[in-house]
């Protein structure tokens, strides 16, 4: 039973010009989404307790609708000791009291759906908090029925050689439980014991959790840390066949009972390894393309398209009903696991000179500070994100160029309160500043007095206004979300150019990755006689003829052209 109405198809919105193609299968909505990622805690506080909540978030849905996004990915909001920002869940079927009530969540969901915005939530399936009743029972005695819901061992020698993910804090994947006097397995923090998916009861319990939220009306789940569900001796305990069986089982149940709901995989792996999580279109609908993200930053710093081309050349085809999820920044560190050592060193040296900016194998910074507050570079990267194949995710605050605070510990520096205006607590909360869950960004460059939604709403040339316009353009052309991509190979490697194509719809994207003006000659013989129409200003450019098409681009400039044969 659904508490919230299913949102109208996003393509039922008035569509300009060539986006007249009707969606054949509404269940593929996630392919056309522009997603906005937020934590309810960070967004808006309605009850002046210093912590964002669902009522506050609901009050800001008009802003999100105005921005043009059509899906929200909400980070964990469940009861939790909050030792890992909510990824340590103590109760899967409730809402953390700081964020409101279950009814508040339902109200938020209905309000989002009324605005044609879908909502996906976090499903941390790999582990629970050590405060979860399941674990409390499991550790209470070796004979407890829940004992086998987690992975136990009398020694810490099992699964030797399996990598430790949080290298900065964990010495081992095993931790000693003094209560039951044995070791328990955890791939992340030691307070996050891994569930034992070899136990069918665990699978059923997790399905019940999913069903609970699907019945309420959520549109999908982002499944956290999926490669680690199963452990086997002599393996890396990652990406095992049994893990895929579990995913297929969940997917089958969803397709049967909840068609149109979506599963998104968090699998920080190389594209070829992630490919298996799409299965034959019968596992995940979407998966993050982790290796692409650092390479977009790398390409801009190197002023060379090579890193992007190289990783996309390695990216395998995925089933027709699947889609990559792409992003620039998120709530975690900018992960550098899927890069070579040389690339990682380069990224550190160029983007995280201050050691405080580094955590684990990554960089804990936001988009704007990484781009040294250079609008041109922020726009270039956002433009690439929105024009590449895949569903783009925008991290809250990046649309206004929010800054970070790398001295807050863990990844908290990129999880500071949303900056709504230049007034009291940035408009985030009416509480005393001391009560805020996190200090505001208050430095002269990125502080809320300088960077906030209200001030940017007042300017047609602000980053926020620009972001709205570029999202609107993307949403207007299905070719961005569904089209193929063909990279052009101009001899100028500072220019990244590609053609997106869907039926007769063709869009040419040309990005100057360099800090200096560039000339580029494009081989567009396939599009001879077409007229390039610049998509933001709608100006006509010279018709494509027999000669290579010459374009000049200013520093970090990019063009989106519709190619029309008239």
């Amino acid at each position: 039973m659904q508490d919230s109405p299913t949102p109208p198809s996003i393509v039922s919105q008035p569509q300009p010009e060539s986006s007249a193609l009707l969606l054949q299968d509404e269940n593929l909505w996630y392919k056309d989404a522009v997603m906005y990622q937020l934590h309810v805690r960070t967004f808006c506080d309605s009850n002046a307790d210093g912590i964002g909540d669902f009522r506050g978030l609901t009050s800001k849905l008009d802003y999100l609708q105005e921005l043009g996004i059509n899906a929200i990915w909400v980070l964990p909001f469940y009861p939790s000791p909050l030792r890992d920002d909510g990824y340590d869940i103590a109760d899967y079927t409730s809402v953390h009291p700081s964020y409101g009530t279950l009814q508040d969540f339902k109200d938020f969901l209905a309000a989002a759906h009324n605005r044609r915005i879908r909502v996906i939530t976090e499903m941390v399936v790999n582990h629970t908090s050590d405060q979860h009743p399941w674990f409390q029972e499991a550790r209470s005695s070796r004979e407890n029925p829940k004992r086998d819901w987690y992975v136990w061992s009398d020694t810490d020698n099992r699964y030797q050689g399996v990598r430790i993910i949080f290298v900065d804090t964990e010495m081992s994947n095993w931790s000693w439980d003094p209560i039951s006097k044995s070791y328990y397995w955890h791939r992340f923090f030691n307070h996050q014991p891994d569930l034992n998916y070899d136990n069918p009861a665990v699978r059923e319990a997790m399905w019940k959790v999913m069903k609970f939220w699907l019945d309420i009306g959520v549109d999908g789940f982002r499944l956290d840390a999926v490669p680690y569900l199963i452990e086997r001796d002599g393996t890396s305990c990652e990406n095992l066949p049994e893990t895929h069986e579990i995913i297929r089982d969940f997917r089958k149940r969803i397709d049967l009972a909840y068609p149109g709901k979506m599963l998104l995989a968090e699998a920080n792996q190389w594209p070829a390894d992630v490919r298996s999580y799409f299965g034959n279109g019968d596992e995940f609908h979407m998966a993050f393309h982790f290796p692409l993200m650092p390479r977009m930053f790398m390409a801009v710093k190197l002023e060379d398209r090579k890193p992007i081309i190289e990783i996309l050349e390695q990216t395998p085809q995925i089933p027709e009903n699947c889609q990559w999820c792409i992003f620039l920044r998120n709530h975690d560190e900018l992960t550098l696991e899927m890069v070579t050592d040389i690339e990682r060193d380069y990224m550190y040296d160029e983007y995280a000179v201050d050691k405080a900016m580094r955590i684990n194998l990554g960089i804990r910074r936001r988009l704007a500070p990484m781009m040294e507050n250079d609008r041109r570079r922020v726009e270039l990267l956002t433009g690439m994100l929105l024009s590449m194949p895949g569903t783009p995710i925008i991290y809250y605050g990046d649309e206004i160029g929010m800054g970070d605070n790398v001295y807050l510990g863990d990844r908290n520096g990129v999880r500071t309160p949303m900056q709504w205006n230049g007034g009291w607590n940035a408009g985030f909360s009416a509480a005393d500043p001391e009560r805020l869950y996190s200090p505001l960004i208050s430095n002269p460059v990125y502080g809320y007095q300088a960077i906030n939604v209200d001030s940017q709403r007042r300017s047609a040339h602000s980053l926020l206004s620009w972001t709205k316009s570029v999202i609107q353009t993307r949403n207007a052309f299905r070719v961005f979300s569904r089209g193929s991509i063909e990279f052009l190979n101009p001899s100028n490697h500072r220019v990244l150019a590609y053609v997106r194509r869907l039926g007769e719809e063709k869009v040419l994207i040309v990005n100057n990755l360099s800090s200096s003006a560039q000339a580029v000659e494009l081989n567009l013989q396939m599009y001879k006689r077409h007229i390039p129409i610049e998509m933001f200003g709608r100006n006509l450019f010279p018709r494509i003829g027999d000669l290579p098409y010459l374009l000049t681009l200013g520093p970090y400039q990019f063009y989106w052209f519709r190619l029309r044969r008239i």
């Binding site: 190389w270 398209r305 890193p307 070579t340 100028n492 360099s514 000659e521």
Partner: protein
């Protein structure tokens, strides 16, 4: 009317696409289809290993090869390293090529290389020969690194040579350039060297590119120009060098015409500089501790003495116009000496060369003919050298080389005297 550019439009287009670079490696070629791919791989490997973050371009300048050298260069695919998920270097290693339609010439090729370096604002450059078959990635790095990291402007190679290899350099070019220009660079004439973008720009501005000396051996001119304009020079020990059997070097006549002719021309064009030099400080030398000479088999001495003797006879009027009577008489005297006891002493050798240089300066006859007249005398000197050192150790020969260098330096006032003499 504007002067026509020597750079083809297509080449300019390629340069435009590359944009600014940190490093440039030039590969002049002529019928090197069988070896250029290996050279290219070595360069790419060197850039990947040693200059991970630098912007780099590899430039092939081809002299109109008939064996598709240029096509091989363009079509040889980049080697991918295993174990990195198919990832290669951090950056694109650009590869561009151009061809000139005149006869093959190192100078013409180098002009394109320095023009590219200037236009692309390269900081460090190297030129390598595709005929060198043992070119390793470390060679290229060793030529580039002193320029890129240490701020040098010219880096010559140092090779391990067998005792009897490179006698022209050992017995003439090195000691003479050391004495005249004050540069202790042993391999001023080589097929591999490194240089700075600054030196490239300076070279490009010189109106010398049509000179035969620059067309044939531009590297020595470049090194001398660097030294004479106060730029920092050095050398890097690269080890032994082998060349493709198909790459036949010039015979001794052409070798002397090219190198000695070039050297005399450099003296002519850099007079104010070298005439005021009175010492030869050592230059920065990089690389591991090394022996420059290794054991080897002496070349055939057959006919060498006869060619010396007949040359002295046949060229008597020409030698008379080049040499002072006293020197000429001494040479004629040793030409008559017993073959087994023949000696062309260092003192006479140095004096002879200085008188040749002075006569070149005064253009007492056609300069090309003048330089060719040195060939039989050089043969005599080599014959003497081989007699003297047939059983010498590498160390002893090195010591002898140093004595010869000192003799060149000791007699430099004589050079100045002859150079400035009225006739």
């Amino acid at each position: 009317m504007a002067e026509e550019s020597f750079l083809a439009d297509d080449f300019i287009r390629q340069l435009m696409s590359v944009g600014e670079v940190d490093l440039l490696v030039g590969i002049p070629s002529y019928n090197n289809a069988s070896t250029i791919a290996q050279a290219l791989h070595s360069v790419e490997e060197s850039l990947r290993q040693n200059f991970v973050r630098e912007r780099a371009v590899i430039l092939n300048v081809d002299g109109g090869s008939g064996d598709e050298t240029r096509q091989v260069f363009e079509q040889t695919s980049e080697r991918r390293e295993a174990g990195h998920k198919g990832l290669t270097s951090l950056r694109t290693i650009h590869r561009i090529s151009c061809m000139y339609d005149r006869s093959p010439s190192q100078g013409v090729a180098l002009r394109s290389v320095v023009a590219a370096a200037d236009l692309l604002r390269a900081r460090a450059c190297a030129v390598i020969s595709p005929a060198t078959t043992n070119l390793t990635p470390s060679w290229i790095a060793n030529l580039l690194r002193p320029v890129y990291r240490e701020g040098l402007d010219f880096v010559a190679p140092l090779y391990v040579r067998s005792r009897f290899q490179g006698l022209l350099a050992r017995d003439l070019l090195y000691p003479m350039s050391r004495a005249v220009f004050g540069q202790r660079i042993r391999e001023l004439y080589s097929d591999e060297w490194g240089f700075s973008g600054r030196l490239a720009s300076q070279c490009l501005e010189q109106d010398v590119w049509r000179e035969e000396a620059v067309r044939t051996r531009p590297e020595a001119w470049m090194g001398i120009l660097a030294g004479s304009t106060g730029l920092k020079c050095g050398q890097y020990f690269l080890g032994p060098k082998t060349v493709s059997p198909s790459a036949t070097g010039p015979d001794i006549v052409d070798a002397i015409r090219q190198t000695v002719g070039n050297f005399f021309w450099c003296m002519e064009t850099n007079q104010p500089y070298w005439m005021s030099r009175s010492n030869s400080p050592s230059v920065s030398t990089f690389g591991p501790e090394h022996e420059l000479s290794a054991d080897g088999i002496p070349p055939s001495q057959e006919k060498m003495f006869e060619l010396f003797r007949s040359g002295v006879n046949e060229l008597e009027p020409i030698l008379a116009s080049i040499l002072t009577p006293d020197t000429h008489a001494q040479i004629k005297a040793i030409a008559l000496s017993d073959r087994a006891k023949f000696r062309f002493a260092a003192e006479l050798w140095v004096k002879t060369l200085y008188e040749f240089a002075a006569s070149y300066h005064r253009a007492v006859l056609n300069r090309d003919h003048l330089v060719q007249a040195l060939v039989p005398l050089y043969r005599g000197r080599v014959y003497s050298f081989l007699l003297e050192h047939a059983n010498s150790s590498a160390e002893a020969m090195e010591a002898q080389s140093e004595i010869l260098c000192q003799e060149f330096e000791r007699q430099k006032p004589y050079l100045l005297e002859r150079w400035t003499a009225k006739s």
